[in-house]
């Protein structure tokens, strides 16, 4: 290898090491924050209530007129019928909390800050990664590795330097949710996971705050305002039972187009503005369903409050925040949880597979064709998981399956789907040599071939 490419490799390695250290640092900082908070709560000295106190004092200083800069800056919305000076003042005196600084949170925050929302709170525990840029439009290339809320804050202040922005660099949980949410008038659910959606719903019901809920995946989006008005339902009224974990797809696995999250995020900002200003008809009691494939918006009239709702009915069963990860059986992040379905002898590590590569074997790559097209190992055959599970592989590979000794190796992106596939195939062929590759292509890229692309 020549000197230049060695240098390049060193640079890449240092970059990735620094990013990992940063991530570890943020995790520690969050643990510290949560512990400090728990300690303060138990010793009856909550630092966040001091913050709330301070914010309420700030709030006491209500803006009653617009400055010349306000008038020049917001002139195009000031002349809107129904908005006007009073609407602008309401926005200026409002505080909005945005939970999740990702594909939905970035455009939502951008339009709220630009429109003159006086105070914004940003919640996210995560750091900026390269795969965020295509949809999380406040994070720019230089901010890779920075915390998302800090990155967003910098970009938002460039748009509107008079917006007061508070960063909450933490994962929201049952312990800290009330103290974070309390100081805000409207909450935006821009999160990427089911437990956080139930947590935000329950906390908003208990605190009596409207929840502007947006979500997006692949080419689909949904939007509604929960807990608004006398009859407005909450998330649990509509979805009393969380979906089973295996039926939930996150953006990392399912993919999403930035223009889809951008559409829904911008609409969340619109609904928040309408709630604050009292403009138009708020999207409560209706669910907007967006199908980006055919660019169709549908408004579904949803139910009013469920009389026996566990949280928002007159006699709620849930009277305090619960453990939402336990309730949903999922983690409150969109990061993957590694499965452990196979016995150690049914698995190969990447080095063991590397040795096997030169010998005759069948390598089945069970990813989707679109993913297979991005990158693949030599001699890999694409056989999507669905075609393993519906047994179409049996006919197609009948000759390779004749011998019990012939090595069949199953591969996927991170080593979860490959285990599901091997488990299924071993039910039919218990004594065959069918194994998967631990950690999948990610492990291959990290440990064997740094030049192999990661997505």
């Amino acid at each position: 290898m020549d000197n230049l490419s060695l240098q390049k490799q060193d640079i890449e390695e240092l970059r990735s090491e620094i990013a990992k250290l940063r991530a570890a640092l943020y995790t520690k900082e969050q643990q510290l924050q949560d512990l400090e908070q728990l300690h303060a709560q138990q010793s009856g000295n909550d630092p966040d209530s001091a913050v709330v106190q301070q914010e309420h004092e700030e709030k006491a200083e209500v803006h009653t007129h617009l400055t010349n800069d306000d008038i020049a800056r917001f002139s195009r919305q000031l002349i809107l019928p129904g908005f006007g000076v009073q609407g602008q003042l309401k926005l200026k005196n409002s505080a909005v909390l945005i939970v999740g600084m990702g594909g939905l949170g970035c455009p939502a925050a951008q339009y709220l800050a630009a429109a003159g929302c006086g105070r914004l709170g940003l919640v996210d525990y995560d750091i900026v990664e390269r795969n965020n840029f295509h949809r999380q439009t406040l994070h720019s290339e230089k901010k890779e590795g920075m915390s998302k809320v800090d990155s967003a804050r910098i970009a938002l202040l460039e748009l509107n330097s008079s917006c007061q922005i508070k960063c909450h660099t933490r994962l929201l949980n049952s312990l800290n949710a009330f103290s974070v949410l309390r100081a805000y008038d409207v909450i935006l659910d821009c999160s990427d996971n089911v437990p956080t959606r139930y947590l935000l719903n329950d906390a908003c019901v208990m605190l009596g705050k409207p929840l502007v809920s947006g979500s997006a995946l692949k080419m689909d989006g949904q939007l509604t305002v929960y807990n608004y008005g006398a009859d407005g339902p909450c998330y649990r009224c509509i979805y009393p039972v969380p979906p089973p974990p295996e039926a939930v797809t996150n953006c990392g696995d399912g993919g999403v187009l930035g223009a889809i999250t951008g559409t829904i995020g911008a609409l969340q900002a619109l609904e928040a503005i309408k709630v604050i200003v009292g403009l138009g008809e708020v999207l409560a009691g209706r669910l907007l369903i967006y199908d980006g494939f055919s660019n169709l918006f549908r408004n579904i009239k949803i139910r009013s409050k469920r009389p026996n709702c566990h949280i928002c009915s007159a006699e709620p069963l849930i009277r305090d925040l619960i453990d939402y990860e336990l309730f949903c059986g999922m983690h409150a992040t969109d990061k993957d949880n590694p499965l452990q379905l196979l016995e150690p002898e049914q698995r190969l590590n990447v080095f063991e597979y590397q040795e096997l590569q030169s010998a005759p074997h069948l390598l089945l790559d069970v990813r989707q064709p679109a993913e297979f097209e991005i990158c693949q190992l030599p001699s890999a055959v694409n056989m999507p998981l669905a075609e393993i599970l519906d047994d179409s592989y049996v006919k197609r590979f009948s000759s390779q399956l004749e011998s019990k000794e012939f090595p069949i190796v199953v591969l996927c992106r991170r080593g979860n789907d490959s285990q599901i596939a091997v488990q299924h195939m071993r039910n039919r062929y218990p004594d065959h040599s069918i194994r998967d590759v631990i950690g999948g292509l990610h492990a291959w890229s990290n440990k064997v071939d740094n030049g192999f692309p990661i997505y």
Partner: protein
């Protein structure tokens, strides 16, 4: 009891599971919401997400306890929650 043919619209995960974005279904004109949901889940392979689905009849939410009177050409939308962002 008469039988009617209704249109079915699939969204998000159910579109993938059913493999189509719209379809038709033949069902008794008078049916309980949960019964209709069971039949649709069975027929279109949606059992894995059945418990978290919302149904809408002509863009109106269906309460699963309610008795529906369906007409020829009515449209049922099958809506799973999306949680991504």
């Amino acid at each position: 009891m008469s039988v009617v043919r209704i249109g079915i619209l699939f969204f998000a995960k159910t579109r993938e599971l059913a493999g189509i974005s719209r379809g038709t279904f033949t069902v008794n004109s008078v049916v309980i919401g949960s019964d209709l949901l069971n039949q649709l889940s069975q027929f279109f392979g949606l059992n894995s997400v059945r418990d978290s689905l919302m149904l809408a009849l002509n863009e109106r939410y269906i309460n699963l306890n309610e008795e529906l009177s369906l007409c020829e050409g009515d449209e049922i939308a099958i809506i799973p929650p999306i949680s991504g962002g």
